[in-house]
Symmetry: D2
Subunit: 134 residues, 4 copies
């Protein structure tokens, strides 16, 4: 099962070539995965209040075709694996007509914000993530 | 040979966790490679005036440790290969004390801006890029 | 009459203090006014295709209270005046409960992109803008 | 006396019109004033460690002429007034040849981060700010 997030593209996201700047894709990935977890009943603020952070350890992206300002795009996100301390997300950015724009993945480790040590992903989050396993 | 670019980190680059946001690394990579080519006598405006663009086809990054606001960091950039129509850059982001922050690469294809078709990388740019081959 | 634009706040918009960075308000203003004109049947791409640009000549903002990540906010935008070559927009950013976050205005002049000379605002755009005069 | 900050413009700062996006000027203002205070021996981290924040209450900018990628620009910053709890900065962005790009000001109040209540600006910071009073 995939989670679909509609990206609100801003004029600011577009670069001098008239297309969405390559660095913005990571921000779209981020919003999509935050929205996936929020949709399962776990808003970002709750994760923070528990003193947890979920930093990236790796990102990979293949750019297929550019995105222009005004185009409607979606991020489809699913989980490739959900481990005790880490998770891998897969992403596809697609246009309204189904055209592939970008594929990629990110890997995250769950940490305690203060100690910066590994922390087990809380069960309710694990369940949300597993619901969207590819 | 590696080209070293000192990154001017902005307060804005830092996120809610107090560290440089993951999407900024791509912007640092970009400034480093533009600066490498400029240092060889080929400013970005010249490339543009020739109707050429150099979009990303792939990016990969491994995040090792976070960057805090106020820290001095450098991007070391070199070329993994320089082909007729494409180039691969390798990057390391390091701190003043030599600590590894991030490793990654980007792959670019050279295109004609108007036709969006492949174009051969001009010889003077190729020479600059090859000078920094790892 | 006011046009109301719901702002999709991104995690990236938030700074080290945990609140939306002051520079983002201008981006929210921008999306709100582009959306106002688009809602009247004039998408940004049409303005561009006509070779017109609408750069800022002045901006002013009073910040009342901070915006936190996860909060739902709206930009209310109206026009203070619509002249032959320029327009002034008024903005209020408000929270769901009606709390005032920021008031401000921007002034724009319409220019020809190539010549950078003043151009009269096309009548259909003028009508849209006047529909939302305060 | 004015403090002069050389702005490292990024390719990312430039928008679809090929000029620096209007929202970036606020980020340049911010870096300039942080750099002014840092130059006086008070790095941003010290302010934070004291539990102080310095949010904007007002910003105003007049845009005179656009900034293109590759141009060298400077922010000249000085203080219009330094009160017990607040400060007003004046800014001019100028090009290498002295051309005026933008004038503006920002007003800030000093707050305690936790209580969000007003706090007196520490004397050493006041002295730095007064050194640059116009």
């Amino acid at each position: 099962m995939k989670y679909t997030y509609k990206v609100p593209i801003r004029y600011f996201d577009v670069d001098k070539m008239g297309i969405v700047h390559n660095s913005m894709y990571q921000i779209y990935f981020e919003e999509a995965r935050i929205d996936l977890v929020r949709s399962g009943g776990y808003p970002y603020s709750t994760i923070e209040n528990e003193g947890l952070i979920f930093p990236l350890s790796e990102v990979n992206m293949h750019y297929k075709s550019p995105i222009k300002y005004g185009e409607v795009i979606f991020v489809e996100v699913s989980t490739a694996y959900v481990k005790n301390y880490s998770v891998k997300f897969n992403y596809s950015i697609i246009k309204e007509d189904g055209d592939d724009v970008c594929n990629g993945y990110t890997i995250h480790a769950m940490l305690d914000y203060k100690s910066q040590e590994f922390r087990e992903i809380p069960d309710p989050i694990k369940e949300i993530l597993k619901k969207y396993s590819a």
